[in-house]
Symmetry: C2
Subunit: 373 residues, 2 copies
């Protein structure tokens, strides 16, 4: 039985921004939302309790990585990904397609699916639309993504058309393979590269198949931000209003604000977690690199406007010391702060949309970081 | 004003084991106790809140490391080590001697002190009894250790005698340099290598100077366990009953139990934290190496007899996966479990001594790990 449902609660009168609520079998997700990425059954350097403290409602896990290690069958035997990693809120899994297609020479595409070699040990594997769904169901994902090709940029129109057509055929096979009786939802992924007519064709084909939600894939793949925003603006209005819209692999805080403005409900990106491990911290006034000498004896918190655990208890000087000393706590504290930042940014957007002040929220966002970043 | 005090609460009728209570300016420490090591102003991979959850009452920080990076003056400007690292319970700092003497060719001993080169950048520094005390006071330590030489093993009687005599002279200078008006306590360190008459001489000289507590240094430096236990047994009864006794850098769970049996009140060691990062976990039935293939799909917790956060929420299979995947959470969870194990072992010892059942506690400890470890 599919308990998945999306309620559209508010729409910004001056933009496409939406305030919504997704109902899943593992509880509610208030949108717009950012999903921290838990690639290998852990959001790097964060305990599940820390994730909840900073307001995470849903996390993303990577099918490709878990398929190879520890293996989806093992995860299933151990009670599924939620039990395995001690996370009882919703999990969205990607289809594995993005990583497989990133393997370059190590993979071969056919109509059936993709044959690829593991980046871990070179062993040979096949992912098809059917097996991707099966793996995601074994993992116990609450939101399952259709298996598609994330098209590189730039790409010729011919390549994009062929690939997008194949992704549509694969989407049909995913829909057929997805047994919704477990209560999981299935999202289709709009492709079409940077060609708006191919985006439209892809969206129409997916809507014809019918999905619980719709993602826009193939963005943030090297194109300039204005082109990405243009693709969002042209694609999102094509999608049904009563289904969540997810832009995959995006992005910077600016990307999120612009995405929300164009009607995106869900985001994911490794940026807050990966940057944290490299000492780059997000603040209301832009990014800072904590390794800089200027912070050596700075008693201020990372962001004086932030009320997170890290900003309440630690100075920039301490965080710089941890980074310079190669301490594990550096990754732990930096990640905590950055994920908190991303989730607060979305919480603020939700409140602003609900109260009709999203355009002010957006203006404030840019005003505060003027001259920085 | 020195608020430091030791209450001897119970003594085991069948051994030298003691149940005590140390009063410091930052609160009470129930003994016997294990002190987790926070070398660089962080117990590696543990948040201060996690340390409190597992029952840490006091941690150790390393003067040598903090002296070089970020520097004790910087720490002082930022409010001292407690504020810097967000730890409001007692901190004991070592004197820097142990690390400096480990530098081998990079250091030179004179009567004045030790000249050494930083392991970080080769820069030249001097530590003397006076400067070591001054650095430890700048850090804001609640328990300050006298500056001494930790004698290597094996060593000739002549070397040990000369070194121990010099350490006694240095201890006198430390006592003179230590201004107790800040409320910090000063511990002397008994040396004497593996020569019991030199240990006695050292203890007597230190007692003549008079310290708030007495440590036994220069153990766990490569000697066999029976020799270490013999040195403890011969040295500890010489020390005043109304002062805490601290055996430095020790050790394994067995070492702790045997140390308690011989009258030790305080221990510190990197073993639980370092082993954790290498995937070695302590349990009631001995050590396990979580990387072993046998744990690949083991749904059991690390130690079914353990009630720590990690054992309540994660399987051996998950911990093995994290270790194999090189995830930061591997160090976080393993460290949490190991430090919890060490602190629970001491908590159990305290209860057993108080109830007169320490010998049963010791027997159970060995019985459970029979055939393992």
């Amino acid at each position: 039985m599919n308990s998945f449902k999306f309620d559209l609660l508010h729409t910004d009168p001056h933009s496409q921004a939406r305030r919504g609520r997704i109902h899943t079998r593992r509880g509610v997700i208030e949108t717009p939302i950012f999903m921290p990425v838990g690639t290998q059954a852990t959001v790097k350097a964060m305990l599940p309790e820390n994730l909840k403290e900073v307001g995470a409602q849903i996390i993303l896990a990577n099918t490709y990585h878990l398929f190879l290690r520890p293996g989806h069958e093992l995860v299933k035997r151990l009670g599924g990904l939620h039990a395995f990693m001690n996370w009882d809120k919703p999990i969205l899994t990607d289809s594995g397609g993005f990583q497989v297609f990133s393997l370059g020479d190590l993979r071969k595409i056919t109509e059936e699916g993709v044959r690829f070699q593991s980046h871990l040990d070179g062993s040979s594997h096949v992912l098809t639309p059917e097996s991707s769904i099966s793996v995601q169901q074994a993992l116990g994902a609450d939101i399952i993504m259709a298996f598609d090709e994330c098209i590189p940029y730039p790409a010729t129109r011919e390549y994009v058309q062929d690939s997008t057509d194949r992704s549509s055929r694969w989407a049909q096979r995913c829909k057929k393979a997805h047994d919704g009786t477990d209560g999981s939802a299935l999202f289709g992924i709009v492709q079409g590269g940077m060609y708006s007519d191919l985006r439209r064709k892809s969206a129409e084909e997916l809507m014809h198949i019918g999905f619980d939600g719709y993602a826009v894939g193939g963005l943030s793949v090297g194109e300039e931000a204005p082109l990405m925003y243009d693709m969002m603006a042209q694609t999102l209005p094509l999608l049904p209003k009563d289904r969540p819209r997810y832009v995959m692999g995006v992005g910077t805080p600016e990307n999120l604000i612009e995405g929300v403005d164009r009607g995106v409900d869900m985001f994911d990106c490794v940026m807050p977690t990966r940057n944290a491990r490299n000492g780059v911290l997000f603040t209301s006034f832009g990014k800072i690199s904590i390794k800089q000498a200027r912070y050596v004896d700075d008693p201020a918190p990372v962001d004086p406007a932030c009320d997170c655990y890290v900003c309440r208890h630690y100075s920039r000087a301490y965080l710089r010391h941890l980074y310079q000393s190669g301490e594990i706590l550096s990754s732990v504290l930096n990640t905590y702060h950055n994920v908190h930042y991303y989730l607060k940014l979305m919480e603020g957007a939700r409140q602003a949309i609900a109260s009709g002040s999203f355009q002010d929220y957006k203006k404030d966002f840019y005003r505060l970081r003027q001259g920085n970043d």
